[in-house]
């Protein structure tokens, strides 16, 4: 047959047989063997006749689209389609390979090859989606993700989710957009919007919503999703992704249904929004409603924060305590709230049962924060044995400078000179405040609540913080003081050789099989070395010097570690000033002059 004839003929045949149906509707029980044989031979009239016969036998059947393009050997694919229909992809691929071996040059029909590819993609994508391997989903999708094919909407949704969860939101947006453009099933369209709300920035979702139709009465297509859309908008506000809040009427409608809804999360959402918008009074009511409706520990966490914002620390403590077990956020909040009160210079009186409860949670959670708070509370109540017990636990769990300092003060009060000396020597070079306790002029300068208050000195105090500086003696000229200081330091057992390892463990260590016994050093050093991120030692102004640090650093660090602010661009730096902790300070970021090669030398092995 002359090649030019084929298109014309196909056109007429198409008219004859109404070539409209989608490939998916093909009836695999129709025996097309003869038809394909004639087509392969180019016998136009016979194809026409066989086509009419099959169409009469099988209403709805139409001539295959690939009837003229299929290559020889494709006619008899019935067994292959059977494998295809039974989802036996491996069997189908085996059968195709066998047939190609048996009939060199044979190829499966384009229809079968395309559908096989689609089925394989579908299977692989849905499997990866099922195990939440979204990067793989996005990678597998390839061109499919470009939105040219949305016939298989389930696959398109899975691919869009993979793209959205792989930082490829613009492509996911395009795919959702293609679904809305090309598909008309209202349920599919609604589901598409709902999926987009969960996965895309709300600003993109708003664009998808604008693609909705408007019915004759003028109401927008996705009106039934109003609550979902409002939820998405509230979420955007909570993520700082939406300026200016919500339309008051929209929020009022959401609040109205949240007030009556059985679902505690609805009220909780309104509550979080109110807290975010700095309306703690509103938030309180909504959080309480959410709790009453069966809200979970996270709702309780929001309630506790709201109470704190309203200055109701006592109530916040109760809420956090009650909900400490289901969510550690609450346990941490419980510890931190009371920590703030216990460590005040003149702490409030706290009921014994509350203290006992705090002690129990501190022990159960082995909290260094809680233990040092109890240590300071006991210390300021002049109960030094108790203070020492708590400080030792705190030193085992979180040995920061203030905690070691508290432990040292307790040892000093208890006149346990040897233990005090060991502690001060262990932290020589690291904690200036602790080392200062070995220096004659820097001990016990500030009378605390347990000190006798000499009348003369008290008089010079303003009782307030400003007066405290008056107690710090101005150092005398170096020469004489240095020798005096040396003598006094020696009397305080400083410097002395001690093990640098902090041995405290609570609960005590149990043996765990054979373990290494590192060789003991020949001699413990008596002179401290420089440590990066540590301020000068208090004896340095007296003429004592330190050994170079591990990386050669000789001078003290400009900014001590405890005073360093996190880098610009971190969450902490972005929110500094808005919400600060009770015990930490974040000075404005400054450049540190310490050598960057401290980092460079790390991991020299």
């Amino acid at each position: 047959m002359p090649a030019g004839l084929i298109p014309m003929f196909r056109l007429s045949l198409a008219a004859l047989l109404v070539l409209t149906l989608s490939a998916a509707a093909r009836d695999r029980n129709v025996d097309e063997t003869a038809l394909r044989f004639y087509a392969a031979q180019g016998q136009v009239k016979r194809v026409e006749a066989e086509g009419k016969r099959l169409a009469a036998l099988h209403p709805g059947w139409t001539l295959p689209e690939d009837i003229w393009t299929a290559r020889p050997g494709q006619a008899d694919e019935k067994p292959l389609w059977a494998l295809f229909s039974s989802d036996d992809i491996d069997g189908l691929k085996r059968a195709i390979a066998e047939r190609r071996r048996a009939e060199p040059g044979w190829q499966p029909s384009d229809d079968l090859a395309r559908k096989l590819r689609h089925k394989e993609l579908r299977k692989a994508v849905l499997a990866k989606a099922g195990s939440a391997q979204w990067l793989s989903v996005a990678e597998l999708a390839g061109d499919f993700g470009k939105g040219s094919d949305v016939d298989d909407v389930e696959l398109a949704w899975a691919v869009a989710e993979g793209l959205a969860r792989s930082d490829r939101q613009p492509e996911a947006f395009a795919l959702y957009g293609a679904i809305l453009t090309r598909r008309s099933d209202p349920r599919e369209r609604s589901a598409t919007i709902q999926k987009a709300i969960g996965l895309l920035p709300m600003v993109d979702v708003e664009l998808l919503l604008a693609m909705g139709k408007t019915d004759a009465a003028g109401s927008p297509e996705f009106a039934a999703l109003a609550l979902d859309i409002t939820r998405g908008r509230i979420s955007a506000v909570l993520h700082d992704e939406r300026k200016g809040g919500l339309d008051p009427a929209e929020l009022a409608a959401f609040e109205a249904q949240a007030r009556t809804s059985e679902n505690a999360n609805e009220a909780a959402l309104v509550a979080w929004l109110a807290l975010k918008q700095n309306r703690p009074g509103d938030a309180l009511g909504w959080f309480k409603l959410a709790i009453a409706r069966g809200g979970d520990a996270m709702v309780a966490h929001g309630l506790a924060h709201t109470l704190l914002r309203l200055g109701k620390r006592r109530e916040a403590e109760e809420v956090a305590f009650a909900w400490r077990e289901p969510l550690v956020n609450n346990a941490i909040l419980f510890i931190d709230v009371l920590e703030g009160e216990l460590t005040q210079p003149s702490p409030p009186a706290i009921e014994p049962e509350r203290l006992a409860r705090y002690a129990r949670v501190t022990l159960d959670s082995r909290s260094g924060e809680g233990a040092q708070a109890l240590g300071w509370y006991a210390y300021n109540a002049c109960q030094f044995e108790t203070a020492l017990d708590w400080f030792q636990r705190a030193s085992a769990w979180l040995p920061k400078e203030a905690t070691i300092y508290g432990q040292a003060l307790a040892l000093q009060r208890l006149k346990r000179g040897k233990d005090l000396s060991e502690l001060i020597n262990r932290y020589d070079g690291l904690f200036p405040k602790v080392v200062a306790l070995a220096l004659p002029d820097q001990r016990n300068e500030i009378p605390g609540p347990c000190d006798p208050q000499p009348a003369a000195r008290t008089a010079s105090f303003d009782a307030g913080r400003s007066g405290l500086t008056a107690a710090i003696r101005i150092p005398q000229p170096a020469g004489t003081l240095a020798s005096d200081a040396s003598l006094a330091m020696k009397r305080a057992g400083f410097p002395a050789a001690v093990s640098p390892e902090n041995p405290l463990r609570y609960p005590g260590a149990s043996r765990s099989g054979d373990m290494l016994r590192p060789r003991a050093p020949e001699a413990r050093p008596l002179v401290a070395r420089r440590v990066g991120g540590v301020a000068p030692m208090p004896y340095e102004p007296l003429g004592f010097t330190l050994l170079p640090g591990w990386n050669g650093q000789t001078g003290p660090s400009d900014i001590a570690t405890a005073e360093r602010a996190p880098a610009r661009g971190t969450l902490w730096a972005e929110t500094a000033g808005q919400a600060q902790g009770t015990t930490r300070t974040s000075p404005a970021p400054e450049r540190e002059s310490s050598p960057a090669d401290a980092a460079a030398n790390r991991f020299r092995r």
């Binding site: 996965l199 030193s395 040995p399 690291l430």
Partner: protein, 368 residues
């Protein structure tokens, strides 16, 4: 709608930072496809041998090739292996030492370096973010394994500190992980921010949502993956240990040797451990390691693409073996499945970690 309510469950906050209660999409996925670490090192004899050689009676992990020092990274590795070996007493010893000796900074991060014969033993108050990640991850796994709230609380406190103070939220590459609190940011260095891609402990990012779901660990992980694919320098097309992002595109950082070295060799370990098993994740490393002119594993000078040093302790060969297992399904050689006597801390640790990762993610590499 289900996506929204699932996300609502991720609401979280701390005393300092009340996080938004909705985490869209990302974080939710991460916990779903991960496997617990507990009991993934069933070779108890290997762990016993490891402890007798590298874990002091006080719970300190000793870097035997490096002046008997310790670091937060090593403590983290030890804690992970103890959970994998189901050794709670061992875990308690290592964690007990770690917190008593390294958590001296005043925040919830560990000082990174500790030297036994010095006064004081802590060498530097700076942290190493990978060490903190490893410790937080190990505590999370310990909490999952043994249900101890103290582990979960400690894990959360560390994870929140990392999430809020060490992640740069918005860069052209997505979220970035600073290697430490001091010395790496754009404020601190002319070529900052400087990153270390081997500090991206990918398997930790998949598990930290269990304790700190408000941070986008998944996004950090994806951004790290992209950086690893971009940081391919010189003829060998490998990442340097330290990279600068000053110019936008990754470059070897100033002041550090431009080498694929002791740090970066762990990148494919963490990739494989997190289930990143595609050939493109591993082929460039495998190609570099496939050289046969020397013994062991080469460290590579990136300008020339040539080896500078061969690491001949056998444990190091667990790294290419794991990459081949992950990306090609190659069985792990039997000799690597038992620890070698006389090996030093680093190769011995890497070998046990690789074995654990294979057991978790690619058990078929251990059958035969």
């Amino acid at each position: 709608m289900t996506a929204i309510w699932r996300a609502l469950a991720l609401a979280a906050g701390t005393l300092m930072l009340i996080a938004a209660p909705f985490a869209r999409g990302h974080a939710a996925e991460s916990t779903r496809d991960t496997i617990a670490l507990h009991n993934m090192l069933p070779n108890k004899e290997a762990w016993r041998a490891y402890k007798s050689r590298f874990v002091s009676e006080s719970g300190r992990i000793v870097d035997t090739a490096n002046g008997q020092i310790s670091h937060s990274e090593g403590q983290g590795y030890g804690m992970l292996l103890a959970v994998a070996a189901d050794d709670r007493a061992g875990f308690e010893a290592i964690w007990g030492w770690t917190r008593a000796n390294l958590f001296v900074r005043g925040d919830e991060l560990a000082a990174w370096r500790w030297e036994p014969d010095r006064r004081p033993a802590v060498a530097d108050m700076n942290n190493a973010t990978d060490g903190d990640l490893l410790i937080a991850w190990a505590l999370t796994e310990a909490a999952e394994a043994w249900g101890d709230i103290s582990y979960r609380i400690a894990a959360r406190r560390i994870a929140v500190e990392i999430g809020s103070k060490l992640i740069l939220l918005k860069s052209s590459h997505g979220a970035l992980l600073l290697p430490g609190m001091a010395g790496f940011s754009a404020e601190d260095r002319a070529d900052g921010p400087v990153l270390n891609l081997s500090y991206y402990v990918f398997p930790a990012f998949a598990r930290l949502p269990l304790v700190a779901p408000e941070f986008d660990w998944g996004g950090l992980s994806r951004a790290g993956l992209r950086l690893i694919e971009k940081a391919r320098f010189g003829p060998a097309k490998l990442p340097s240990d330290w990279i600068s992002l000053k110019s936008g595109e990754p470059q070897p950082a100033e002041g550090f040797p431009a080498q694929f070295s002791y740090n970066a060799i762990r990148i494919p370990l963490y990739l494989a451990w997190a289930g990143f098993d595609q050939p493109r994740h591993h082929e460039t490393f495998l190609a570099a390691w496939d050289r046969r002119e020397g013994r062991g594993l080469p460290l590579i000078d990136l300008a020339r693409g040539q080896p500078t040093l061969w690491l001949d302790e056998r444990g190091y060969s667990a790294l290419p073996a794991l990459s081949a297992c992950a990306s090609k399904g190659t069985a792990l050689p039997r000799a690597l499945r038992t620890p070698q006597a006389g090996e030093n801390y680093y190769p011995a640790t890497l070998a046990l970690l690789a074995l654990t990762a294979a057991r978790m993610r690619y058990p078929s590499c251990l059958q035969d």
